[in-house]
Chain length 510, copies 2
């Protein structure tokens, strides 16, 4: 039973009202406000139920132009009724992709953690900004507790951290802090004050936001050197050193190396210890982009060797909204050195960060960040962590890895139908589906080209049918291939089997 | 009746369960999941009720060290029970500041719009990312509708826009697009490829994020020229021209001017038309930071002359989470020229923005932004706008301005107790409270110093008592003074009277 937009009826009296008949405009409207909000919740609870029902479609696909004719997205001149708003909510969810559905293997962030979701509902209701203790006392203290804990897990005592709106901005914070630490006059004088061209290094498998830092911050993408990676997707360390020396020979200043812990496509982990040695040798800042793979820090079983050496980094990006399943968005950036974040980003706005306040202003975080207003991204994570305990969070990471291992095993067992591209280190599984006509044909470049062509067709079919979501993409070494992701706590072995079987059903004839 | 953390009891059976006994881990737990979420909602509905109750305290203040002993913020090894999670939610809200309370006049974003809040609940439940049509079809179309409408209101046909995590990042987008438009090679070559030192201009009353762009992006804050403002807080146009010429004489390249439409402290509007003339003359990009004042674009009565000429700008920041009362956060940045955002920020990640998708990929927005994952900030605004209609949103802006005018009138009528600092153009009202011992004393610098000293004391008292929240700060011309903000739809004339009376009660003896 899919959500029926006409199935949520307010009482006759309330249905005809508008938002002006609710709190706060109508002060006596506590009951009507409650009725309206409760009806919204009824819609949401049905969506949660549908999300967890394997018989439900993941999505009801329509092309954009068609979708526009189905939906009424107009902004009217006059207020619509409360009943219409309820229908709007239900219609929106009817056509929304259920990213928490157990058959959604599409992107890095999936799943719908019930407690984290409840946390985000509360966050919305508290509707506050995170710049000062004054207006967000509890949430500011929660940030302290959770971020300290995360730094301890990384392996640091002390240090400093902040929550940022996504891993890309977290990586940007790392870049800014590194530049500030090494060139403290940069903040005032800019690029003109530097003794030479700054250069940063990252593998060609890194997240594109690393390169984006170079464009945003004044280096230029020419000076973000893409270090080649090996066939496992890991940075080639000898190439890193060669490229650093090449730039030094030109008189450039290598200052920043990004190591990726869990690449976006293949889920590869760069060798942190080896990169740390190079950084030490050439006095570069070491940043670890563990936005994706960071969750494995919680797992004694899988942390090593993947993240060994992470404590040697100067900064670490780690997104709880990925492997840990916190609601979107929840991204953290951590620094080994305390005080850097504020000295780098402080603009000392007098109207917000006065020093004559009546409480200990060391809790005000607003001047550490390049945002002013900052969304409260901590409560959903704090509550979720309480709901699992350290133990449960570890078990969840282990479970995701086990499921990916199960998928690899099943792919191997069906090697006529599936071609595993590489042994994964994370929950990304990269593979081709082999349709009937290509089974038994020797694997070569020409076959790869054929296999690649059918990826978008199968993807189109699964979206039309609404039965499954799995992503595909090309990379530097090969054309289109499927990459499934298991980061949802909803997934079981049966769902993994369903994924493979469904791809087979959809693609056998291609 | 304040929220009682022990007042929300789950059934005996459910109370002892943990998150693992809910969906998705326990697939049969639909009823228990519903019971748990419903209980969270009961807490939230009580908070909404308390927020709208004038007899409730705005906050229960405790100093940080004391608050830590009251709250149990620990992350345990083992999962806490569902009953404990409910108590955690209730306790959190018990000590949270009610930013939607009618006596909260503290910061630019206040109020708790019921419909926008419901929208944010839905957003959390849908838990999706905004980079592609594939995983956020309805929300992507909503962005198109609402952002196009906002550009029309600005006065443009065509153009392009994006939602950003706060006004500071919106301003950063404007800076990046301007630099890219004027120096298209910058993206690859960086600052080294430029013919000279870039310089940007903004008034000394601007939001600090404008200056922060200079630090982040490679100019250095030395090259963000702060143009003096007049006693009304408006940029002095002759000074702008003089400073541009001064920099040109040094061989620098003026390229970007920020005009503020609604300054943070005084609520002043720079004269856009005069600044646009200067920008035209010296070929500078004109950005309007209307994060705060943008809401008045909806008001035929108050739009002119404040925002006259805004259609001449190249880019406009406008935060619906401020005057329009959308939930945090909701910030928009608009560009007159289409195509610029993508050519500036595109990194063409092949794994996300493939060109062989089965639908019209012009709807994928992810490659326009420097974030990768992007929170869904549109639904709450779309739903809210539907709930008010254009007409209602206009009326709401007018109403806020009328209340500020009422406050000014009341301050004037009590001129023995209050000193109005200037005639406001927006809902910021700047004033001093005059305690008994200083009434009748001629107003001079020495008296100002005395009045300034009592601001933090009154502020401390109102927080301890929990009866009122009003901000204070110094500025370039004067020491500490109060600045109240009316941006909440909950506020009435009686609440304005309460604010002034309460300050009097708290400060008469000082």
């Amino acid at each position: 039973m899919s959500i029926n937009p006409n199935g949520y009826k307010l009482s006759d009296k309330t249905a005809r009202l508008t938002a002006y008949d609710l709190l706060p405009t109508t002060v006596s409207a506590t009951a009507e406000t409650r009725e309206f909000l409760q009806k919204v919740i009824d819609v949401l609870l049905d969506f949660v139920k549908a999300t967890n029902d394997r018989n439900e479609k993941i999505l009801e696909f329509h092309h954009p132009e068609e979708m526009k004719t189905i939906l009424n997205l107009d902004i009217p001149d006059r207020a619509v009724t409360l009943q219409q708003l309820i229908e709007d909510c239900a219609t929106t969810l009817k056509y929304q992709v259920k990213t928490g559905h157990p058959h959604f293997f599409n992107q890095l962030s999936c799943g719908l953690d019930i407690v984290s979701m409840a946390g985000e509902w509360l966050t919305a209701t508290a509707n506050t900004n995170m710049f000062t203790y004054e207006i967000a006392p509890v949430f500011i203290l929660m940030e302290n507790v959770v971020l300290s804990k995360m730094r301890q897990i990384i392996g640091w005592e002390g240090g400093d951290s902040i929550l940022a709106p996504g891993g890309s901005i977290s990586n940007l914070y790392a870049f800014l802090a590194a530049r500030h630490k090494m060139f403290p006059n940069y903040k005032e004088h800019g690029a003109a004050g530097l003794p030479g061209q700054l250069v940063m290094f990252t593998s060609d498998q890194c997240h594109y936001s690393v390169k984006s830092c170079a464009a945003v911050c004044g280096l230029g993408t020419d000076h973000c050197v893409m270090v080649p990676s090996d066939e496992h997707g890991k940075m080639i360390i000898s190439e890193l050193e060669r490229l650093i020396l090449e730039r030094k020979a030109k008189g450039h200043i290598p200052f920043f190396v990004n190591a990726t812990a869990g690449t976006t496509v293949l889920g590869a982990f760069d060798n942190i210890n080896q990169i740390a040695d190079i950084c030490q040798k050439y006095k570069c800042w070491l940043h670890i982009d563990a936005a994706w793979g960071g969750g494995l820090l919680l797992s004694r079983k899988y942390r090593h060797p993947r993240l060994s050496g992470i404590e040697r980094a100067d900064s670490v990006t780690w997104n709880p909204h990925k492997l840990m399943g916190a609601l979107l968005q929840c991204s953290t950036i951590h620094f080994k050195e305390d005080g850097l974040l504020i000295s780098c980003n402080q603009m000392s706005a007098e109207y917000l960060f006065m020093t004559d306040k009546q409480y200990d202003i060391s809790y005000d975080t607003g001047d550490k960040v390049i945002q002013c207003g900052r969304h409260n991204d901590i409560f959903k994570l704090w509550l979720q962590w309480r709901s699992k305990g350290n133990e449960g969070f570890e078990r969840q990471q282990d479970r995701l890895m086990q499921l990916a291992e199960y998928q690899v095993k099943r792919i191997r067992e069906q090697s006529d139908r599936f071609h595993l591209i590489l042994e994964p280190e994370l929950v990304n599984v990269s593979f081709w589906y082999i349709p009937k006509r290509l089974r038994g044909v020797p694997h070569d470049k020409r076959k790869e080209a054929e296999l690649a062509k059918i990826c978008p067709i199968i993807k189109g079919r699964m979206m039309q049918k609404g039965s499954l979501m799995v992503g595909y993409q090309p990379d530097d070494r090969r054309p289109n291939f499927f990459r499934s992701i298991i980061s949802s706590a909803a997934v079981t072995e049966q769902d993994v089997d369903f994924m493979l079987d469904e791809i087979h059903r959809l693609g056998d004839d291609l």
